[in-house]
């Protein structure tokens, strides 16, 4: 069994000057090497949950934070945000909030240099992550001159350059075009498989989460209401509907035709759906 990298116990949080709890009792353990998808509607608490993982909550936000949050075996209260950054890399939804240097390459050098690498080593790492994101041509561009999608790739590269054990992407795909989104999911899978990076991916891309994630979490009104492998979790259609989250299209199709077609299990990709649908139509016809 893999060792726990993150453990949240009974975590409740509310922002300063707010009476409403955004997180209302979250229990969650993320294990080393997992690829986890997190879904939920706007306002469910997804971004807030992400901020607890790298220590920005409670160190920088203020507010009231109850319960226990551990990263790499120690409470985040006992670690600085700088310490936590070697374990947890967080890519924000809003790339502008993350980009501060004069060029994209400088942005990518920041973390490796602060980790003690030489400039040559840091540049090699920056070049590697930019190439992996198909963003080498952006290296010498100023972040403020980039389009929304390019900014997101730059922000992701800068976080990847730190080689964090846990990579958290908080709706980092919202400005990307479809092919770039597919590439990003494939890159996460590659980092997960080849380097053992634990991935927590917050996204509305249900089709891609069903295909890539090993584990899916559904957050609703500050609580994790579903947690398990996608094929199991996505069977809970009513819970998803109540939470306002759509299913992957092939899963929804299988559910809507369950009365007339014999689906052996819930399809998670169009390839699986095609195979199962052909078999079911042949059996019926």
């Amino acid at each position: 069994m893999a060792s726990p990298l993150v453990r949240l116990e009974g975590v409740r949080y509310r922002y300063p000057a707010s009476r409403d709890w955004v997180l209302r009792g979250v229990d969650l353990t993320l294990y080393e090497g997992e690829f986890v998808g997190l879904v939920g509607t706007t306002g469910a608490g997804k971004s807030t949950l992400c901020l607890t993982l790298n220590g920005l909550i409670p160190h920088y936000t203020g507010g009231v934070c109850e319960g226990r949050i551990e990263v790499a075996g120690r409470s985040t209260r006992e670690q600085t945000v700088a310490d936590l950054s070697t374990h947890v890399g967080l890519v924000f939804q809003d790339a502008d909030a993350q980009l501060i240097m004069s060029t994209v390459e400088e942005e990518c050098l920041l973390a490796p240099l602060s980790q003690g690498l030489t400039r040559a080593q840091a540049r090699a790492r920056a070049a590697q992550v930019l190439a992996a994101l198909n963003a080498s041509d952006l290296a010498h561009r100023a972040p403020q001159t980039l389009s929304g999608g390019q900014k997101q790739r730059a922000a992701i590269a800068a976080v990847l350059a730190a080689q964090p054990r846990l990579l958290v992407l908080d709706e980092a795909t919202s400005e990307l075009d479809a092919l770039s989104v597919h590439r990003l999911f494939a890159l996460c899978q590659q980092l997960n498989a080849e380097q053992g990076t634990t991935i927590l991916l917050v996204s509305h891309e249900m089709e891609l989460l069903a295909r890539y994630a090993h584990r899916l979490l559904l957050l609703s009104e500050g609580r994790i209401v579903l947690d398990g492998p996608p094929r199991t979790v996505l069977r809970e259609l009513e819970v998803f509907r109540r939470a306002g989250v759509r299913l992957p299209q092939v899963a929804e199709f299988a559910d809507r035709t369950a009365d007339c077609l014999a689906w052996p299990e819930l399809p998670l990709s169009e390839e699986e759906a095609e195979r199962m649908l052909r078999a079911a139509l042949e059996a019926a016809g």
Binding site: D177, A178, V250, E274, G285
Partner: protein, 279 residues
């Protein structure tokens, strides 16, 4: 015979800097009543085209005519009566202290008499179900409700054309569906809707015509079903057809017609079974 164009883009090229063409030789005619998508990847020229359509940019070459008005010589207020533009981020659009003031603002700018402004305000609040929120500070609303207020404030001005710029980016499913169903209802009432997006699930489900941009040029303009089923074209434009369309195409050899939505795929499958399975 072609219907007259409500909006026409005639041989338009646009360069932000000399020699750097963001759009090149674009021709596009949109007739009244259409619900058309403009799709393309990042950098394809979608946003530039959108800004040309509302007169925020003027063509470097060619002309854009909106409901009979050439944007090169039109005043902003002339165009605002004709084209309503919904920003991607509602926070860029909302600034008034109450929902009602937000809606009144555009109406005052049109120079309407006070009685007309109040009548249109009440009708719009009712149409969008916003009466309970009329005195609320718009920034305190949920993102979905903010977008509804943006749409309401534009629709109150009774534009003939509605331009939606990536209205579902960063939105969850519930809010995305709500905004597109509102746009569909407005389209059914006669407003021409142009949807600029890279979310092809919504393009397939809601629009009837698709214009595909790549590197500043129109590379395809046709019925939604044709464009969505052209996998090679979409690949070449860094776009990906919706999952249900890809499934539908993969089993087309069985005699199942193309489906653009889960609902359509379900209907086709049931019809297929009825035709082939004896009771």
């Amino acid at each position: 015979m072609r219907p007259p164009a409500l909006l026409s883009v005639e041989g338009v090229s646009f360069a932000y800097r000399r020699g750097m063409w963001a759009l090149h030789a674009v021709d596009l005619r949109v007739a009244a009543g259409e619900f058309t998508a403009i799709i393309g990847n990042n950098g394809s020229g979608k946003s530039t085209l959108m800004k040309l359509l509302v007169g925020l940019l003027k063509p470097t070459v060619g002309r854009v005519v909106v409901d009979g008005v050439d944007t090169r010589t039109a005043r902003v207020s002339q165009l605002a009566r004709r084209v309503g533009f919904i920003f991607q981020n509602p926070n860029d659009q909302l600034f008034a202290n109450t929902v009602a003031e937000e809606i009144r603002f555009g109406l005052r700018n049109l120079g309407l008499p006070p009685a007309e402004i109040e009548a249109r305000l009440e009708a719009t609040l009712a149409q969008f179900g916003l009466e309970p929120m009329r005195d609320v500070f718009p920034r305190f609303l949920s993102r979905g409700d903010k977008q509804k207020v943006c749409l309401a404030s534009i629709v109150a001005m009774q534009p003939r054309i509605l331009l939606l710029d990536e209205p579902t980016t960063g939105q969850d499913h519930r809010d995305s569906r709500a905004i597109l169903e509102l746009a569909t209802a407005l389209n059914q009432q006669g407003i021409t809707v142009l949807l600029v997006t890279h979310d092809l699930n919504n393009v397939a489900a809601y629009t009837r015509r698709v214009v595909v941009l790549r590197d500043g040029e129109v590379v395809r303009d046709g019925p939604t079903a044709q464009v969505m089923s052209d996998v090679a074209l979409l690949d070449a434009c860094s776009l990906v057809a919706p999952q249900i369309v890809r499934l539908s195409l993969s089993v087309a050899d069985l005699g199942l017609p193309l489906a653009l939505s889960v609902e359509a795929m379900e209907q086709h499958t049931r019809a297929w079974l009825r035709a082939r399975v004896r009771p």
